[in-house]
């Protein structure tokens, strides 16, 4: 029996001209576990909204064709009937956590269904038991990590006993280890219950770590693939759809092994096949590449920096490191390890208790945020939180107009004040002064006008330069709201570039972005680094760290536990565990095919990819 069935289904949002979903035919059977994936803007979120009832109730639009959810048509029901059938676990754990305590939040759906109190308490405990959170029943959301909040959300949906569970990007805000445990939990749930599970996610590698029955790939509003994971991985669908293949699959493809369904490579453990082993070993030659030691000068140094919000508990302990010009450094670590605190210290928002922060040879511990800001740019995760103006030009040039105005303007106040006293009686002395004064004023006026023009021209030139660097030249006269999310990100960076920063801190620059957007954004960041700007990336995304950073600094519990190349850091078991990271599938592939020096293999892969691009 099918739980969800789309028949020739199309949907067009009310304010859009083109349909977002076109002629969708999809059937999901009872008890299936399906991954739905696609680039941002492919229509996968729209598909999700169709299933959980937000379409047509929260987002109106035009529907054609048929959609049946558990035998009912959503448009004939109301959103509550659908929410009874489909439990949605949203991407944003904070907005999803409505109650003031864990128990209350899990009970939310039951309260709305008017369940009596005694039964409610029992159900809440049961549901929390499934996700291993019974002990936290009285905790507040502020005491939980992202992964724990995710579990509470799941318990909240489980308590309603809906048959279909819909996970909307469950990995988006989690560190690698928590993400892994959530995926594992979903799998456990699927094995133990008869629920139909839909996971919408573009981090395919992480989802495929546990068994998945079927993968649906959406591109440009259409379903371009609908089948088993191993078929998907052996084809080039993901590549065409602008999605990221699992790293080990990429490695296998690089080594030129002909992959067939037989290999069942959706499970990495099946890579111990002799043909695969040989292929990989052939591709990977242990050649000692002479590393270019192009050491540039330090731009930023931290020396024994301590920091605490309250005196009792230190958030950062004895942190020291150097950042060189044009370096891309990733800062890794679990939630609460002190990553954001560290970036706050570098950006001058926070002041260290002890130690020194040295920028370009000067100690900046006591500098104001504004002064540090002229050297260190801080880019928030959500560009909408940075944008203050309507037009792109105004936004980007805002800082320029503010800073470069010459404060020493020729003051004529003194001379002009004398003017009043002239009227009282004739005094040749004053009239002479007045004459000179007026002359002076005219001269300075002209001068100022000319300066203004030069100044404006300077701003305009700089604006165009920066906008070109950021790939937004075509939008130079556009309002910001008509830019896409990725373009807004660039705009936010452009407005910081006007200040000529030496360092840019990026907070989770790739969160929730698909491979194509991500790649083009990171390419842009690399170009910036090429200009000599040091880039600090705070991230959970180990792929990002691996591919784009030259160095990783790992924090755990306020201490620096590693400062090495990403490949080395991510093949060190102890560091991985301490910082809630995860071994990459490349590392696993290496051990499966019998390569001892894992980090060299990972490095070889990265260099190979770089060579290809």
């Amino acid at each position: 029996m099918s739980k969800i069935e789309f028949k020739n289904f199309s949907f067009r949002y009310k304010n859009l001209k083109e349909p977002t979903l076109e002629n969708i035919n999809l059937e999901i059977k009872d008890g299936e576990k399906v991954l739905i994936t696609g680039q941002s803007g492919s229509g996968k979120s729209t598909l999700v909204h169709c299933i959980n009832g937000l379409i047509p109730f929260a987002y109106p639009g035009e529907i054609s064709g048929q959609l049946l959810i558990d035998g009912c048509e959503p448009c004939n029901e109301n959103i509550f009937e659908i929410s009874k059938k489909v439990g949605t676990i949203l991407q944003d754990q904070d907005s999803q956590f409505i109650g003031l305590s864990v128990g209350e939040d899990v009970a939310f759906i039951l309260e709305n269904n008017m369940m009596p109190l005694s039964e409610m308490r029992k159900t809440v405990l049961e549901s929390l038991g499934v996700v291993d959170m019974q002990d936290s029943i009285d905790q507040s959301p502020y005491e939980l990590s992202g992964g724990q909040k995710q579990r509470v959300s799941l318990a909240g949906v489980l308590s309603s006993r809906s048959k279909i569970l819909l996970f909307d990007e469950p990995l988006a805000n989690l560190d690698p280890a928590s993400g892994k445990s959530v995926i594992h939990l979903i799998d456990k749930l699927h094995r133990k219950s008869d629920k139909t599970i839909l996971i919408v996610e573009h981090r395919i590698e992480d989802v495929l770590e546990e068994n998945i029955d079927r993968v649906v790939v959406v591109a440009k509003g259409k379903i371009i693939f609908n089948g088993q994971p191993c078929d998907l991985l052996t084809s080039d669908v993901l590549h065409k759809a602008g999605l990221r293949e699992p790293l080990y699959i990429e490695a296998l493809k690089h080594s030129g092994i002909e992959l067939t369904q037989k290999h069942k490579i959706d499970n990495i453990n099946n890579c111990d096949d002799t043909r695969i082993k040989e292929g990989v070993l052939n591709w990977y030659q242990v050649d000692q590449v002479i590393k270019k030691n192009n050491v540039k000068s330090d731009i930023l140094s931290l020396r024994n920096v301590d920091f605490s919000y309250q005196k009792e508990k230190k958030i950062l302990k004895d942190i020291s490191f150097n950042i060189r010009k044009g370096e891309i450094v990733s800062i890794l670590g679990n939630n609460g390890a002190g990553k954001s605190t560290l970036s706050g210290l570098i950006a001058g928002i926070l002041k260290p208790d002890n130690g020194e922060i040295i920028l370009n040879g000067t100690m900046i511990n006591k500098w104001s945020i504004k002064k540090v800001g002229e050297n260190v740019g801080y880019v928030m995760q959500n560009p909408n939180n940075m944008i203050v103006k309507h037009m792109l030009r105004d936004e980007v040039t805002l800082g320029l107009k503010d800073r470069s105005r010459d404060p020493k303007r020729l003051s004529l106040k003194g001379v002009l004040n004398k003017r009043g006293s002239v009227k009282k009686g004739f005094n040749p002395f004053y009239s002479l002064k007045l004459h000179v004064g007026l002359q002076l004023r005219n001269m300075s006026q002209k001068n100022r006008d000319r300066k203004k023009v030069v100044h404006a021209r300077g701003i305009e030139n700089k604006y165009l330069d920066i906008i070109k660097t950021c790939g937004l030249y075509g939008f130079r006269n556009w309002p910001i709201n008509s830019l896409s999310y990725g373009q807004k990100r660039r705009a936010a960076i452009a407005s910081i570039l006007t200040l000529d920063p030496k360092i840019i801190i990026l907070d989770e620059p790739t969160a929730g972005q698909d491979y194509r957007t991500y790649t083009s954004f990171m390419k842009f960041i690399k170009e910036l680094a090429g200009l000599g700007i040091a880039i600090l990336i705070i991230t959970h995304d180990i792929h990002l760290a691996l591919e784009y950073s030259t160095r990783s600094i790992v924090l755990s519990d306020g201490c620096k536990i590693a400062d090495d190349t990403p490949a080395n850091v991510l093949s060190e078991k102890e560091i991985i565990e301490k910082a809630n990271l995860k071994e990459t599938s490349l590392g696993r592939l290496a051990s499966i095919v019998g390569i001892e020096d894992k980090n060299d293999f990972i490095q070889y892969f990265i260099d190979f990819e770089k060579g290809q691009k």
Binding site: S101, E104, N112, M114, M115, I369, N385, M386
Partner: protein, 275 residues
């Protein structure tokens, strides 16, 4: 701030266990009594009674002290203004004039001084009950209790949501303000020109409002998806029950209230002045 990010102070006092709607009722009755009289005797009595209740509530002394200081300062300012603007008000109420001292055209009278003391005590005597209501009531329990006494649950639940998201929004605001300051748009003492500070503040409000609206949008959808507003009624996980003690307290409070009402009707004094 408690771990819930609200004003609620967790403890297990007599007042913590009391039904929230009853606390609200007592607070309302208390306020009516306070505003009914301009009588220093009653205010002193209420203040003492309030302090006794407060001592049972196990609210940390630090919080009590700070709030008392705030209210006292407010009262002092109020007193100064009354003296300056209507120095003859006490005379108007009592019909007597006992000049304390005079300065130019101003006559400071004992009557007005007494009036000010009464008025200040009146405000201060409201404080203990207000504090008990605010600090010993868990927002969720308060919401469920309000719903029980007849307030629609959609309105009652607003309390919950507000308390839940205030800290989140605060945190988000802080981050935005800092990021903007780093960009040169600061409105604290970093920025020397006052005009620029105001302009920056104006600029920053756009992302702030944007983020708050965004949050509201997400929360609304999350609530929709979990069936909020499905039925005309709902049950509450944090439901409260009227206990025997609550009924006794209710009867006593109503009795005291009636006694005061009777006293008010029996003795029609607008302003009690002993001299």
């Amino acid at each position: 701030m408690s771990k819930f990010g609200t004003l609620y102070v967790e403890s297990d006092s007599f007042f913590h266990k009391m039904e929230p709607s009853l606390k609200l009722l007592i607070f309302v009755l208390w306020s009516i009594i306070v505003f009914m009289f301009l009588d220093v005797r009653i205010n002193i009595f209420l203040l003492c009674l309030g302090m006794v209740c407060l001592s049972f509530s196990k609210i940390p002394f630090r919080i009590i002290k700070n709030l008392f200081i705030v209210v006292t300062v407010f009262n002092l300012i109020n007193a100064v203004f009354i003296f300056l603007i209507t120095p003859g008000y006490g005379t108007m109420l009592t019909g007597k004039t006992t000049i304390l001292c005079s300065f130019m055209d101003y006559n400071f009278t004992v009557e007005t001084l007494f009036y000010i003391i009464t008025l200040s005590l009146k405000y201060i005597s409201l404080l203990p009950m207000a504090m008990i209501l605010i600090f010993t009531t868990h927002p969720s329990r308060f919401a469920s209790s309000l719903n029980k006494v007849g307030i629609p649950y959609k309105i009652a639940y607003t309390f919950n949501v507000i308390f839940r998201y205030i800290p989140d929004i605060q945190y988000e605001f802080k981050t935005i303000v800092h990021a903007q300051a780093a960009r040169g748009l600061s409105f604290n003492k970093d920025e020397k020109s006052f005009v620029k500070r105001v302009r920056n503040l104006f600029n920053i409000t756009i992302p702030l409002i944007n983020s708050a609206l965004n949050r509201i949008d997400h929360v609304t959808k999350a609530m929709d998806l979990r069936g909020f507003g499905k039925h005309h009624k709902r049950t509450w996980y944090n439901a409260t029950k009227f206990t025997k003690v609550d009924y006794i307290v209710l009867v006593i409070s109503v009795f005291i209230f009636i006694a005061f009402l009777w006293f008010k009707i029996g003795n029609d004094i607008k302003f009690w002045y002993p001299f």
